[in-house]
Amino acid sequence: MPVILATDIIMFLLTVIFVFLALRVRSEGYLKDAWRQIKMNKLAMISLAILILYGAVALADSIRWRDPVLNDNGEAAIADNGSTIYSAEALTLLDRAFSGMRLSTEKTFSAPFAERQFVKENIEVADGTNRRDYPELKYPGAHILGTGKVGNDVFFSAMKGVRTGIIIGAGTTIISIPFAIFFGVLAGFYGGIVDDIIQYVYTTLSSIPDVLLIVAFMLLFGQSGYQGGLVNEADTILNFFVLNDRLFWLCFIMGITSWTGLCRLLRGETLKLREMEYIQAANAFGVSKSTMMLRHIVPNVTHLVLITMVLQFSGLVLAEAVLSYIGVGVGAETGSWGNMINTARMELSREPVVWWNLLAAFVFMFTLVLPANIFGDAVRDALDPRLRTK
């Protein structure tokens, strides 16, 4: 029984766009040149490989389905009305691939590669008396980043944050791109009153402090939907689709706060392109305005869209952690590095210190954001060196 979240669709869309671009870099003129230049940059290629690895984990964490509940005989349980009963837990491909790690939970904290628990307990010794000591772990040495407060494997928890990071970083831009292209090109192409209205809208939106707009929106829309974890039947449409997904709302509102920059950039570029000879030629041939915009302007601004997408990525991933820390980011049950940092902060004041939760979140975030920054710079230099200073 498949389950599809609204953010899963974004993830699929991202995959399609990535595959499309990967195919196009071999044929299309300016992409081909840019790709040749990026290929020469060793650091950028290593970064790309890491980003693809992260993307693969995120995609595997977006394909999910529910298993039937088994009865005592090991067969699928059937409800009274004849339909199969499915478990409320929609496990993803990632959950299933790492089920060993997911299910090997301990009682509570344990340090990385530890053989024994981090906290002392009363242990019954053979002669019947009790002794206070560190009990042996159920899976000694198996947790490469230790276990958390409820005994969860920290490495696995950090891996569950990958999907959230990728979706916030790239999905947000995917949502905002259509708006930015539509309004930016329209404003630049028509000018006059259309331009005035669109400029007014984006100046107004960008004058509201981003964080407050996101906070207000999430307080009003984010509280009711799917927060991660078990899938509630009431949240679904046709029993498999979850539209009211908190992560999706977060992407949506972050998209609204971030589209204005791209819109302004596209407006400026369109203003310039409008005066080019080939547009005048198209005008002389009697090409309609909508065709002119779609066929002659939009393809010539796509490099700006690509640049914005890779450059925004890392900032958005970092912003998600801060928002989740304030408590207006992703739901409490969604795996996210912001949530991990939030809990890890309290653990630092324990004695002795529990540091591995924080380390895991740091390492996973850093190894995503650093390659994203390096690759983003390489893409920008390859596509438009003039933008360097902006």
Binding site: T204, A216, Y325, I326, I374, R388
Partner: protein, 326 residues
């Protein structure tokens, strides 16, 4: 110049109205006053009268945009939108939803701690970043420059949360140099200010130094620098005397836009260090779901943003006499 500023101020009016329209739609249309009353008064054992009384006390009992019960101009003025927006012109922010305190006086009191943290961070960070950037520009093309830029990118890739947590842990808890968090009045507040300022500077180095380096490099490749070198001036004089002066234009205009926001405070910094400034005021309001305060802070934020834009334009004319605002 004066006419330009007046025109810009007039242009701010529709923007501020637009901002209020958005907040009104978000906070009153999506989340009706009835919802608010229930959130604040609690769900159980609440009578209809209590809800009505609460709405009347806070002025939320009127229609949103059009009051069809009134005649003439009162049709528009006797509404939640007008009643809540018009006092904002003379910066009367009203009272908060939950504790019924005067928001305006709170803002006036709390902006000083915010400023006490933000101003030193801002000034020292600019100096530190520029020194680093000049150093990298001086060493341009060498391995030190390349690795310096890589280090900048690495610093940019670390979440500010880690800088704060790490700084508090190492400088505050282990080395015991500063108190971890808190605030005091007057001169005693200094020991509480140092740690957030240091952390704020460290967090800004990556992005800042990289940006200023690019600005300096752009300036260094210009013709007048070549002339200065041809005259036989030392590389130091060329960089610091001629280059720095001209690089100030993009730097200044980039910096001025954030000047008004020094009062505004930073949400996470103030939350982590328990600074009683505007940032923690906002975050407390968010946790308490006090939308009157959030609305006031949104309005204040957009005023500061518009002020920043106008200041940027004025600063252009100050540093570059070729620019005239008409």
């Amino acid at each position: 110049m004066l006419t330009y500023i007046i025109r810009r101020l007039l242009y701010a009016v529709p923007i501020l109205i637009g901002v209020n329209l958005i907040t009104t739609l978000l906070f009153f249309y999506v989340n009706t006053p009835d919802d608010m009353a229930h959130q604040i008064l609690g769900e159980k054992g609440i009578t209809e009268e209590a809800v009505e009384a609460w709405k009347r006390d806070h002025g939320y009992d009127l229609p949103l945009f059009v009051n069809s019960g009134e005649a003439g101009l009162s049709k528009v003025t006797q509404t939640v939108f007008a009643q809540k927006s018009i006092p904002l012109i003379w910066l009367d922010f009203g009272r908060s939803d939950r504790k019924n305190i005067d928001i305006g006086s709170q803002i006036k009191r709390r902006m000083w701690p915010s400023l006490a943290i933000a101003l030193p961070t801002f000034l020292v960070a600019i100096c530190v970043n520029m020194i680093f950037a000049m150093l990298l520009a001086y060493l341009r093309g060498t391995y030190l420059d390349i690795w310096g830029v890589v280090l900048c990118v690495a610093f940019m890739s670390v979440s500010s949360l880690f800088f704060i947590i790490g700084g508090q842990y190492v400088l505050g808890k282990i080395l015991r140099l500063f108190p971890i968090s808190g605030y005091d009045t007057g001169i005693y507040s200094i020991k509480f200010i140092i740690l957030p300022v240091i952390i704020g500077i460290i967090a800004s180095i990556g992005g800042g130094a990289r940006f200023y380096r690019i600005v300096f490099l752009e300036e260094i490749n210009k013709d007048y620098i070549r002339t200065a070198r041809a005259k036989g001036l030392s590389e130091g004089t060329v960089l610091f005397k001629h280059g720095l002066k001209n690089a100030m234009i993009p730097i200044l205009t980039n910096v001025v836009v954030s000047l008004p926001f020094l009062f505004y405070g930073s949400l996470i910094m103030e939350a982590f260090f328990a600074i009683p400034g505007l940032g923690s005021f906002t975050i407390d309001a968010i946790h308490a779901q006090d939308f009157a305060i959030v609305r006031a802070m949104v309005y204040l934020g957009s005023i500061l943003y518009i002020t920043g834009l106008i200041l940027t334009d004025i600063s252009y004319t100050l540093v570059d006499p070729r620019i005239r605002l008409g």
